[in-house]
Amino acid sequence: MRRFLYPLIVFGALVAVLAAGLRLKPAEVPSPLIGKPVPAFSLAQVQNAGRSVSAQDMAGQVWMLNVWASWCGACREEHPALLAFSRESAVPLVGLNYKDARPDGSAWLERFGDPYKVSALDADGKVGIDFGVYGVPETFVIDKKGVIRYKHIGPLTPEIIHSRLAPLLKELNDA
């Protein structure tokens, strides 16, 4: 008699797992880079080919790196949130213009507004590989010592910025 209950018991365990799963966010894949120093890079700027930007330039302060591209639809979606962020926050936002052509990237910034302190042109995506980028957009938070503290995959929303990023940035700035 009791053996006929086994399927039900197994199913009960499965439901418990699924119910727990509902409250999890699979998009938050932790980056192996979290807790590691930010990969070194030095790239030409998108809007000024003669000047460069590197991770070194940002040392000693809390900053964010946002990976974007003119061909990326989701970047358009998160763009207003980034513009609002750059107006409200003193934390510098650096753009990594991923696998893009310079004219396309700068035209995009002119058309939709530029939330970035500066954008680096990663035309062949090599720096993106160092950062483990597997989808655009992605956003990294880097602390004063140059250590990556947080990574967000997919478009940022005002809600995520206020509930997740703002407390973290404040904590890092106060440290």
Partner: protein, 655 residues
Amino acid sequence: MIPELGNFAVMLALCVALVLGVLPLAGAARGHGGWMALARPAAAAQALLVAFAFGCLVTSFMVNDFSVAYVAAHSNSTLPLHFRIAASWGGHEGSLLLWILILAAWTGAVALFSRELPQAMAARVLGVMGLIAVGFISFLLFTSNPFERLLPAALDGRDLNPLLQDPGMIFHPPLLYLGYVGFSVAFAFAVAALLGGQLDARWARWSRPWTLVAWLFLTLGIFLGSFWAYYELGWGGWWFWDAVENASFMPWLVGTALIHSLAVTEKRGSFKNWTVLLAILAFSLSLLGTFLVRSGVLTSVHAFATDPERGLFILVFLTIVIGGSLLLFAWRAPSVGLGGRFAVFSRELALLLNNVLLAVAAATVLLGTLYPLILDALGLGKISVGPPYFESVFVPLMVPLLVLLGVGPFVRWKEAEPAGVARSLRWVAAATLGLVAAGAVTLRYSAGVALGLGLATWILLATGWHLWQQVAGRDWLRRWAGLPRSYTGMLVAHAGIAVFVVGVTLVKGWEVSADVSLQVGQSATLGGHTFRFASMDYVKGPNYLAARGQFEVSVDGRYVGSLVPEKRVFTVQNMPMTEAAIDRGFTRDLYLALGERTDPLTWVVRIQHKPFVGWIWAGCLFMAAGGALAALDKRYRARRSVQVRLPVHAELGHA
């Protein structure tokens, strides 16, 4: 107006489904004939109402009614008409309505073709299907209504995801759902039999054709999905062990076990409890697939936009349907009793092994699919389980199954003589070993290829030999024509597995690929073929701009054809897409996809030479054709007197 009519029809359908789900079941329990008689008209009314609602949704897409939120989110005025129609099921809400439509159609079909069923049985089966419809229609109305208006209306739609703008989108979801939802019939028969306490050979015979048809649609749906991914995703893979692919593959594995187990229950009255459990599990896994796709617990290329509220709704529904049926199983199964006895070495044992292997395979796929979720839920970190896991656990389970597949048909029901089976198969075994050894000497293939080709040869020879034993003689043609369709269907499906195994083995073992940088005028060589980059044009499609390359393929300087790959940018969503060019052949596919343009004149091009890849899909088509033949067997169409005629083919022992 049209969306409101659709919405109203869905609401009416919910009321009808409630009637269908309550009164006939209550009538069957209390012996109330009038209530039971409601089942058929209610099933018909439900089917008509849902079909009308679905027609309203399709119409909204056809006339570009962007005041409907769902249309605005998944269509666009520049989208061609056939894709606008397919866009009806391009998102969560519409595909859910398609699911309900197919459920209503299956319910209607059962109502239409259940004349020979006892009234109580038919009422219970239709009632159970009605209860399932109540759950899904409520889900649609309360969390995911495709008819919701958008105020103010959008000027134009956001367009269908370019990945879905493909003929595959027109056929893949309906076929897959026909399979998924089709298992609800076997499920309803199982629950009805448990309720009525009539778990017997007749129940198995009624379930068999429905299960076969659902299984063949699921086979076709998975085949089309794989075929589509192969040419559309642009990297030439055909199966990715993606969570959602697994969600369709698990019911297929269990469904395959079920059609074999039903054979035992019908012929010998054995395995009743096991068969009824498989019928419950096949549909439960379909429901689980729905949950995984629509709740957002797993990430996948197939996942719909997700919403925790929807996830919770399906989880509760899942718990009631599966939990309820498993509880019923635990309560009723012990009293059903054992079936006919069988000896250790018999057809029953062979089919039991088949069932165990398939069920374990499904369990390993389930474990691999849910493992990331389980670890995450226990706070043990986030991991992903990929093809290495699935390939290393799946292949070892399939090897004994494929060996058994050759032997099974030669083993008699009830009791067989091992020596006799060995005698009938010794030449088949010798020929297989001989051919594999000869191949190893001439082609010098690896152990993996030898194993795969050996198994395929074994199955083909054993299947052919079995057929020969049935028809050999002077009047072989007449004998062949006289074979029962379910027997022919079994042979065709088994041969299909052999063809499939050849394809998988040779693609895995022998494919070659190269990524090359080419300018117009330059050539690359791969697998004996030379690909010359002849020209590059820029063209405008209805809703995209494309770079279109022209490649000329030659073998030893002899022109054999041209390949025209495209790189498209869909203008509405500004999304790039790769359209691979494929030259299909009986023994190989040439697969060419444009990568990135590294400078104005140079393109990265990925060229692949894939031997026998077409055999993978040919094998699937054979399997589906076998299922169709078996489902068309005469005895399923006969009336109640069928039982008397059964022993005629019994000695043939078709499974």
